[in-house]
Assembly symmetry: C2
Homo-oligomer: 292 residues x 2
């Protein structure tokens, strides 16, 4: 019997990635295009997979990884829909419903983009072989995907790690439209840019902004260790691409924890999958649907 | 075939509870005694179960719920031992090793006291029917047991929710010997007593202490919702026995979250099992060992 294709979608806030892989997980094709309105974007996704089926064969399953918030818990009445979001034209959209109407015999999986990135890093990156770890992205916003006992955390509806509260240690009021000075409001790329009046990526490595950023991110790490006791926290996203920042976060974390938690450089690491973590995770999700 | 007895131990910082139940879960006997040195205390546990076997029949399994920190993850090399603790004479003690030498044909389960309380509330209390919930105790210290997908969270080694960081909104420096102004250092019963110079249970209900306490606990709730998206958070422990406090925490949480998370009184509730949650959880742990 011919193996069925795996499809993956990573639906980011600004960019879509679609890919197909064969039954061995080898990626056969991948495209990227900007995220537009839900109608336009989902039609483009549908077109992509229809073309891919003509070219490569029959699709077995699609894993769809979405920006949040979204209902990612199977069995919930609105499983597969997008929750209230400032993103125009996406609120309430039934993504899974659209996909199941478009591809009637194809298995479907649905999760957050950050959970998918965590799944991807767990499959072939910095979370390999670990049962309890967290993937954090520090970019325009801050988000996290949580793997517990080998599975992504799906609750009511999913973690929103960026919106935790941490001690405020500077005068900046924070930029989160919901909470002002939550972690995302204090330490996202948007917050760095607004606080210093310069885009984060243009700040020089010796700017005091980075010590402050490391302080805030080390508080996030303390809270993640206190809540989850993870084996590893993978720190990704555009802000973390400043390669001196990881070391600063580790040092700030060690200072704060004192002797209470061990000083172990394997706790805080960089991603290993670059910008392929999310789409890889989406393909893994599709593969898990087929395996059932 | 005669049903085997279930044994349970709740090893608290100041008080031990030991119980036996029949195969239906009916508690046949329960004793409480002060926690002393590890040698004295564990011998007393052993004596209790030897007597219970003579009186009620053969033990099938013992569930042991311990104060933390401890290694509660099966498969870890030192599974069942107590980690560094200020409690004299307990650090490094191999509790499971002692029990397995004392009761060679008896199944054993080992977890934290707060995970056991969460298991107990999930079995017959405020967590019934829920897959993702958290039990918090606000007493001398602050601790939490986390249930995810129906199972207690065991990681590296376990959550230490009391040591999360939250914004500091008063001048008190905090009483945590490790972190000063972490959540436990700011909002435990010890912190309340030290901040106001009066034991928490003697402060009148209209004392400003309680509004401040509700502020800090609502920040903890925000962080737990951001990290776990739980169906429910059960707020227990001596400090929460002030029955007006739960409402104050809810109100402070609703104010902070704005419209971002729903206002739902079923999220924050009181325990339903009183001081029986932990020992009930220990007996449930024993029962699960027998079921395998």
């Amino acid at each position: 019997m011919k193996g069925l294709l795996l499809g993956g979608v990573e639906a980011g806030g600004t960019k879509m990635v679609c890919a197909v892989a064969n039954e061995l997980g080898v990626v056969l094709d991948e495209v990227r295009f900007p995220t537009a309105s839900s109608e336009e974007t989902l039609l483009r996704v549908k077109d992509y997979f229809e073309q891919a089926q003509m070219e490569y064969g029959e699709l077995g399953a699609i894993g769809y990884a979405t920006f949040g918030p979204a209902v990612v818990t199977q069995g919930e009445p609105n499983y597969g829909t997008i929750l209230p979001t400032p993103k125009p034209g996406w609120q309430g959209v039934d993504v899974l419903g659209f996909l199941s109407q478009s591809f009637s015999d194809v298995g479907l999986a649905f999760d957050t983009d950050v959970n998918a990135a965590a799944i991807g890093e767990g499959f072939a990156g910095a979370g390999r072989g670990m049962k309890n770890f967290i993937y954090i992205t520090v970019g325009t916003g801050i988000g996290g995907g949580v793997i517990i006992d080998g599975k992504p955390l799906h609750a009511k509806p999913h973690a929103e790690i960026g919106h935790m509260l941490v001690p405020v240690i500077d005068d900046y009021k924070g930029c989160c439209p919901f909470h002002g000075a939550c972690l995302e409001g204090l330490a996202s790329g948007s917050a760095i840019g607004q606080r210093w009046g310069i885009p984060a990526q243009e700040l020089s490595p010796d700017h005091e902004a980075w010590d402050l950023e490391a302080e805030y991110l080390s508080m996030m790490v303390i809270n993640l260790v206190a809540c989850f006791a993870p084996e590893r926290i993978i720190l990704g996203g555009g802000v973390m691409e400043q390669d001196f920042l990881l070391t600063k976060v580790r040092e700030a974390y060690y200072l704060k924890t004192g002797g209470y938690w061990p000083h172990d450089d394997s706790l805080l690491v960089s991603p290993e999958m670059g910008n392929q973590a999310g789409i890889t995770g989406a393909l893994v999700m599709a593969n898990e649907v087929l395996a059932f």
